[in-house]
Amino acid sequence: MRFNAKINGLKREIECAPGATLLEVLRLMGYKSVKQGCDREGTCGACTVLLDGTPILSCITPAPRVAGREVTTVEALGDPSRPHPIQAAFVNAGAVQCGYCTPGMLLSTKALLDRNKKPTDEQIATALSGNLCRCTGYVKIVEAVRNAAAALTEEQKP
């Protein structure tokens, strides 16, 4: 199948098998931040991407579903030299250990903070409910999200 979609703001032509998952396609295209964890079960969240700004699980999303739509991966946020405030908050809070879950965590956080500038801890937990971390115990991750919310609010002050 062949279709167009916007990936991280760039219009891309995608060619794949009709049964390909979005995860498979994105990784073949070089978006390696999107991780394969549980794979095709939708239980771990390592494959989380944003589809038109909403977090979804790419390992259970048929790739053709994104035709004409916009997909965001962590590659769109920032890089080590110019990290996004959410990425910086995760590093500074020590919210990253093995890092495998981190791209999904970052995107779930971005979707949350895009719609809620000052989330409660309960709202943070709900937003991250689909992202499993086997290293950190979540305390530092929640702290990072709180700090990211504060940093983004500060950044937007005139």
Partner: protein, 278 residues
């Protein structure tokens, strides 16, 4: 093996594909875990405009493609049905899964642990089915949740309708899970109408014990028309002792049966407390 994937934007085009044997796919959350070796042609039904919630005077029509996230945030659905639907939808799985799972998919791709079907059964919902060349048809949810051939085969679910009444309706909804995103070990959903001190039109639905949710008819009969009191509830809960339970690896049948009794008692108490305060 998925041999083709169609993304129609008109219901008629989707129905034509479904009539020739293609398979409808909504949220797709169970698509890749289904261990089917069948060669299938998929029809993506998420671009058909069936993602609206329409509130009328006597009913709410929930489009087949409404996600559980959308339903969980649907503040415009009034009264008891709205509160119950929101509570159940918000309880399902995790946020990204709720962003994908659709109302119709929860019915058509029924899993024993699914949280929404017991609620739809307790609310006397009906399922609107569309097929090529036929007028839309409405089917009671109870029939749709039974085993065997389903009314949407060869077509698709277009919407789920929940009746709204002016009666003083109340509900209790309880589910038990090991972690917040895990599958339910048991669920209990109670709806009833308050008639002074009396319980009327009592629905007690037990979920996650068997392949499909079911109404606990014997328990309902013990409560119908009676005033809420400990003796009436004890009598109703006692009838759940012989509930059949399909075994699974999460907990023993005996544990889940006992759990269903505990959850049913709590759901009844919640419903009653609500009735007393309202």
């Amino acid at each position: 093996m998925i041999r083709d994937y169609h993304s129609p934007e008109r219901v008629e085009d989707a129905l034509a594909l479904l009539a020739r044997g293609a398979v409808a796919v909504g949220g797709a959350t169970a698509l890749y875990t289904a261990k089917s070796s069948r060669d299938i042609e998929l029809v993506d039904v998420t671009r058909l405009g069936l993602d609206q919630i329409t509130v009328d005077k006597d009913k709410v029509v929930i489009g087949a493609g409404v996600t559980l996230s959308r339903l969980g945030a649907a503040a415009d659905i009034p009264g008891m049905p709205g509160a119950l639907l929101r509570k159940a939808a918000r309880a399902v799985a995790s946020e990204p899964l709720r962003n994908m799972i659709t109302v119709a998919g929860n019915v058509a791709g029924l899993n024993y642990w699914a949280d929404l079907p017991p609620v739809l059964l307790a609310l006397d919902a009906t399922v609107e089915v569309r097929k090529q060349g036929q007028a839309p048809s409405a089917h009671p949810i109870a029939a749709c949740l039974e085993a065997g051939k389903h009314p949407w085969e060869g077509g698709m679910i277009a919407a789920v309708t929940v009746p709204l009444t002016q009666a003083a309706q109340v509900f209790g909804y309880e589910r038990f899970v090991r972690t917040v995103t895990d599958y339910s070990l048991a669920t209990a959903c109670v709806t009833m109408t308050r008639d002074g001190a009396l319980m009327r039109n009592v629905h007690l639905v037990i979920g996650a014990l068997q392949a499909r949710p079911h109404r606990a008819a014997k328990a309902e009969a013990k409560l119908e028309g009676k005033a809420y009191d400990a003796a009436a509830v004890d009598e109703a809960i006692a009838t759940l002792g012989d509930l059949p339970v399909a075994p699974n690896f999460r907990a023993s049948p005996g544990y889940r049966r006992q759990l269903a009794g505990v959850l049913s008692r709590r759901a009844l108490m919640t419903a009653y407390e609500w009735a007393r305060e309202s």
